[in-house]
């Protein structure tokens, strides 16, 4: 972070003028207001979740709860089986991270380092995949999931479709490719002379040198997988397989409002905690890979 006098447009000298001081105060106030708009809705949700049922439905609604009923939190947890929902989401996320790094990484390695004859075509195809809008995917992808090509198996109620989609992310492939191109070829040649196989070079040389990019993609993927809605909703029809997000969407029509609030709070708390701890990395990762998001 730079020191104050070089931070922005308003220079040190300007602050000698009263008008500029007032301007700064106004900007500050506006930003405080914007912060409130950003933070209050989730905070209202959390505070409403602990109200007792009478206060919850009180008119007008209260901002700060007067009553606390924590038993309802436990009941909702048990009723909707949040242990299983969290475990499912965790499993979905873990697989998504592994597939994202492994298969996009290998393809990036193939395009950046191995470069066998014909790899140029693959590069062009991957680039086009990223550039073309995906408005045609819904039906054909669903068809491929319920009747997997050649194998003919039905992958409904399995995490595999989401994992495989994560393993074919054109944007990540290009990020990996760009990063791997920066690895000095001498390192790879030396390993080749020592008799390393291609796969060994990938895991022993390329991956250890790519910790920053792997970290960024991991954090980004964890966040995206946690929030992922459409394909989990389409694929996971059995409620034993639901993720948290699928569950809160599906109970929109069935659960009572106070239960929905609590469930929604449970869906927001984990990423919020993640953000509190990894704020810096998450924002860095976003500037790194977020333009597509």
């Amino acid at each position: 972070m730079r020191s104050r006098d070089s931070a922005g447009i308003i220079g040190k000298l300007d602050y000698k003028r009263p008008g500029v001081k007032a301007l700064y105060a106004v900007l500050f106030a506006v930003l405080v207001l914007i912060s409130l708009v950003c933070l209050l809705p989730p905070l209202w949700l959390l505070s409403s979740s602990v109200k007792d049922i009478k206060e919850f439905f009180a008119i007008p609604p209260t901002l700060i709860p007067h009553t606390f009923e924590f038993g309802k939190l436990a009941d909702t947890w048990r009723e909707l089986d949040f242990t299983r929902l969290y475990l499912n989401t965790l499993l979905l996320t873990a697989g998504t991270v592994v597939f994202s790094i492994l298969f996009n990484g290998l393809l990036g390695y193939f395009l950046a380092v191995l470069k066998p004859s014909g790899s140029r075509i693959v590069f062009v195809l991957v680039l086009w995949t990223m550039l073309l809008p995906n408005t045609l995917g819904m039906v054909p992808i669903f068809k491929n999931i319920i009747d997997f090509p050649v194998l003919g198996i039905n992958l409904t109620n399995s995490f595999l479709p989401m994992w495989m989609m994560a393993g074919s992310n054109a944007f990540y492939v290009l990020i990996f490719k760009g990063f791997f191109e920066g690895i000095p070829p001498a390192l790879i040649d030396a390993a080749k002379i020592d008799g390393c196989t291609r796969l060994a070079i990938f895991f022993r040389i390329v991956v250890p040198l790519s910790v920053p990019v792997i970290m960024a993609i991991t954090i980004f993927t964890v966040n995206a997988a946690w929030a992922d809605f459409f394909w989990p909703y389409m694929v996971l029809k059995d409620n034993n397989m639901w993720t948290v997000i699928v569950a809160i969407f599906n109970m929109k029509t069935t659960a009572s409002l106070d239960v929905q609030f609590i469930a929604l709070a449970y869906a927001i708390i984990p990423p919020a905690i993640l953000f509190l701890f990894f704020q810096k990395y998450i924002m860095q990762g976003f500037t790194f890979s977020g333009i597509r998001g």
Partner: protein, 291 residues
């Protein structure tokens, strides 16, 4: 041949799974989706070729015209509400000597709320009854209650408010990164030449970050044009189809009416409009850069 076998084949073997995933989830779907849009379908399978019949059916549907207009309205509202806000907020945060980290935290925080959760949260706040949070605030200010999402004139702008709430912080962070890269000597030189703050913003800050403004603008247009989850979660296209979007129509055709061919015809139409928009953007961009 032997050389290829030793030198290139092992490399290709490494990416077999990756390529398989790309084929099954990206390349085959886009081709078969395009082809299937010209077929009469049963379930998700082609029955027989019927030329442009799906397109004719889709376009002659009484709601289609409204849907097309709505989709453009989503984009226009997202430009009105969501385009300038991140730029202004980023410039403001960049000026802050106090609490800068807190402001960054706050604006990015909604981005951590999963999209469907954010849509539901705002649906609760937009509750049209007296128990809704926003109606309570209106009452406190002495204003009449609003129907919010139930008012068909407000539906699209309010959905855009929800989307902007969730995503503008990320955009702010991107602009901030770009603002930090502006050479500070430019501001000092301008200040010495007597340029006021407004002039510095107009003649230094904006031109310096304009490349990223252009990229984010086109990405925003492309993204919002494909809006699906928010209306699906918040209104299901209602009231009276006033928030129906092209992609939601495509979704409804595919999974509510099981008309795969029509769903894909809508997909192709959306695809073509996006292609035209992108091409126009690059044409303008090129001309602007040439001047």
């Amino acid at each position: 041949m032997k050389k290829w076998l030793y030198r290139d084949l092992p490399s290709w073997l490494l990416i077999v799974p990756s390529l398989l995933f790309f084929v099954v989830f990206h390349w085959q779907p886009i081709v078969s989706g395009f082809v299937l849009s010209f077929f009469e379908t049963k379930g998700y399978n082609a029955v027989r070729f019927n030329g442009l019949q799906n397109y004719i059916d889709v376009i002659s549907n009484s709601v289609f015209q409204q849907t097309l207009v709505n989709t453009f309205m989503y984009v226009i509202w997202s430009l009105i509400i969501g385009f300038l806000v991140p730029i202004v907020v980023a410039i403001m945060i960049n000026e802050m000597a106090n609490l800068q980290a807190f402001f960054k935290f706050s604006v990015y925080f909604p981005g951590m709320v999963p999209g469907v959760a954010a849509a539901l949260l705002w649906t609760f706040m937009f509750d049209p009854g007296p128990g809704g949070l926003l109606n309570m605030l209106l009452a406190k200010l002495g204003l009449p209650m609003s129907q919010w999402l139930q008012n068909s004139h407000l539906t699209i702008p309010l959905i855009i408010v929800t989307m902007t709430w969730r995503s503008f912080g990320g955009t702010v962070i991107l602009y901030l990164a770009s603002l930090q890269g502006v050479n500070h000597e430019l501001y000092e030189a301008a200040a010495i030449d007597g340029a006021g703050i407004r002039k510095r913003v107009r003649h230094i800050t904006i031109p310096q970050i304009s490349p990223i403004i252009g990229i984010l603008l086109i990405l925003q247009i492309i993204g919002v044009f494909q809006v699906l989850y928010e209306p699906l979660t918040m209104t299901e296209g209602g009231p009276n189809n006033s928030s129906m979007s092209l992609m939601l129509t495509s979704y409804h055709y595919a999974f509510r009416y099981f008309e795969a061919g029509r769903s894909l015809a809508v997909g192709v139409i959306t695809f073509l409009i996006l292609a035209v928009l992108t091409a126009v953007y690059f044409r303008i961009d090129k001309r602007a850069n040439a001047d």
